[in-house]
């Protein structure tokens, strides 16, 4: 009796463990099953590299190239802004505030602030972006483009707003992961560098950060994943037209394309949206693969 109970327990736990595998397989299967057909119906080159998006026209065009491009450019730009800010914040948290009680208090407050930033729902970022950032961008837009014949005014709902919102949203990820990998760097390396006459900053930038680089890279890649997958916040601030990803253009990302058109799309249009989802999913899977590699590398370095 006891034995039966034991083995039942074991199998129940096994099934619980396998749920994750089944989920990933099911998601992958569905993304491909639903996303692939449009590639054949429209033609992969026309779909992926077409630049005209007119899904509801009498003669519909389904080119998602600008959408892919916007996601890539938006993500990269936000990472370019967010990573340096995040990394320097991590340096402040770890190495510049650890030598005095006041410093440690400041560091604790800052860590809590970062945690809270991470906890704020993305719709709130979107709401504030919509109310604060967009009017600001509109001013800039008017400043640059008044009198321009070709510029399509966006009221500030543009690429630039989206990049800023994304940069802010990836900050906590970058800060937390960089800070913990910087903390993990052995104190003896810092001592060695200081004993050679290096200053504190030289030590941080020439020894500590290089030694923590695989952890920092993990943070950067996670940030990329987060930016690439963010949907609601940037849907609220980036405008709603498929365009080349220029700073003052209203743009659509892979994610926002889904959010804004899925509710009413039908037929081939809907199929193409699934393909958009598939493209996003493939990006994310590649990022996960890179992450696994990085982690393995990190583990090896620790041995």
């Amino acid at each position: 009796m006891k034995k039966v109970k034991e083995s039942i327990a074991k199998y129940i736990f096994l099934i619980a463990g396998i749920v994750a595998i089944i989920s990933v397989l099911a998601i992958t299967l569905y993304m491909f099953l639903k996303g692939a057909p449009a590639l054949f119906q429209v033609g992969a080159p026309q779909l992926l590299f077409g630049t005209v998006w007119k899904p509801t026209a009498a003669e519909p065009h389904y080119g998602i190239f600008y959408i892919i491009l916007s996601s890539v450019v938006g993500t990269l730009c936000s990472v370019l802004i967010g990573v340096p800010i995040g990394l320097l914040t991590a340096v402040f948290l770890t190495d510049l505030t650890n030598s005095s009680p006041l410093g440690r208090t400041v560091s604790k407050i800052l860590s809590s602030a970062v945690e809270l930033l991470a906890a704020i729902p993305s719709v709130i970022y979107g709401l504030i972006g919509l109310m604060v950032l967009n009017p600001l961008m509109y001013k800039l837009e008017k400043h640059f483009f008044t009198g321009s014949e070709t510029h399509q005014f966006t009221g500030g709902a543009n690429m630039l707003s989206a990049i800023i919102v994304l940069a802010i949203m990836i900050l906590p990820t970058v800060i937390n992961i960089s800070a913990s990998s910087i903390r993990a760097v052995s104190q003896s390396l810092r001592s060695a560098s200081l004993a050679l006459g290096a200053t504190k900053l030289q030590t941080i930038f020439r020894v500590v950060i290089p030694a923590a680089r695989s952890g920092i890279m993990t943070g950067v890649v996670l940030g990329i994943g987060r930016a690439l997958g963010e949907a609601m916040a940037i849907n609220m601030v980036a405008g709603g037209a498929v365009n080349l990803p220029l700073p003052f253009n209203s743009v659509r990302f892979l994610t926002t394309q889904l959010v804004s058109e899925m509710s009413y799309a039908s037929g081939l249009h809907r199929q193409v949206l699934f393909t958009v989802g598939l493209v996003l999913y493939i990006f994310i899977l590649s990022i996960n693969l890179i992450l696994t590699r990085l982690r393995k590398k990190g583990e090896k370095a620790n041995d």
């Binding site: 034991e6 736990f13 619980a16 749920v19 914040t89 729902p121 719709v123 200053t199 994310i284």
Partner: protein, 288 residues
């Protein structure tokens, strides 16, 4: 040796670091102040306890609050046991091998998938293939997949901190493994498990993209207590979804900021609780 070098570039770098460190604090302070300033005036008893009524001309989010709670309950009802079970399997039963690395890889992958993809999958699979349509159940089933890694990982961390002596002690007394897990492991790992659960609740409260196409946006209250069970099979928008709709299609920014205040209060409270818990957790860990 006695001439102090003046390092201009270092001063510049220090300035940059302090500036960057200030960014997070300033941002947080700004967000809180701005949201409170714009939204506090919307927080009235009517707003919190009624459903919007065009006839009376009132706006209320009670329906969304109930929907949010329902989604949390249904999601956690399934996600908690599965997540804990998976963690127990990984830490206590499985021997290192292909299956373990597959489960761990799958858990990693799940935690990296953006919520919009979960939403898409939930809509296609639970909504269409299983025919559950736009409903709280569809939303919850979708969210289970999303919060599963969070619970599994926190439980695993907690299990790791339970000393092997406890396990050997119980087994040595002739207790079965399942008995040992039930009476020794799970209680010892409780703070970690609860932390995971609360973090998952926080994630659900803030979630929007995964729910837009799964749980829908209805804001009506269930008609009776038993109506709650019907409600699970009906469309229901959470607070975040209502915020999104208020700020975009409905153009009702007062409500949007009102909801933002409510959301901020909830997520900050959750943050505070998990912090307290982790601290207590650390204490027990250190005393071992």
């Amino acid at each position: 040796m006695t001439k102090k070098k003046c390092r201009v570039s270092e001063l510049f770098l220090y300035g940059a670091i302090y500036l960057c460190a200030a960014v997070s604090i300033v941002l947080l302070a700004y967000i809180i102040i701005y949201v409170l300033q714009k939204g506090l005036k919307s927080i009235t008893p009517t707003f919190l306890t009624t459903v919007s009524s065009a006839r009376k001309g009132t706006v209320g989010i009670a329906g969304n609050i109930v929907n949010t709670i329902l989604i949390i309950l249904v999601t956690m009802l399934f996600a908690t046991p599965i997540g804990i079970g998976a963690a127990i399997y990984l830490n206590e039963y499985a021997k290192p091998g292909k299956l373990v690395s597959a489960i761990e890889f799958a858990t990693e992958t799940l935690s990296g998938i953006p919520s919009i993809i979960f939403g898409l999958f939930g809509m296609m699979f639970f909504g269409e293939t299983l025919g559950l349509g736009y409903s709280i159940l569809t939303g919850s089933l979708t969210l289970i997949l999303m919060v599963l890694p969070l619970i599994t990982r926190n439980t695993q961390e907690a299990l790791k901190t339970v000393p092997d002596g406890y396990r050997n002690g119980a087994i040595g007394l002739g207790a079965g493994k399942w008995y040992m897990i039930r009476t020794i492991l799970i209680p010892s790992a409780m703070p970690g498990i609860i932390t995971g659960v609360i973090l998952a609740i926080g994630r659900i409260v803030g979630e929007s993209a995964a729910l837009l196409f799964t749980a829908g946006s209805a804001k009506l209250l269930p008609k009776s207590f038993l109506g709650i069970f019907d409600k699970i099979f009906q469309s229901g928008g959470t607070l975040t979804i209502q915020l999104y709709l208020s700020a975009t299609s409905e153009g009702d920014f007062d409500s949007a900021f009102g909801i933002a205040v409510v959301l901020l209060v909830i997520v900050f409270a959750i943050n505070l609780i998990t912090k307290k818990l982790t601290r207590r957790f650390d204490v027990t860990r250190n005393s071992n």
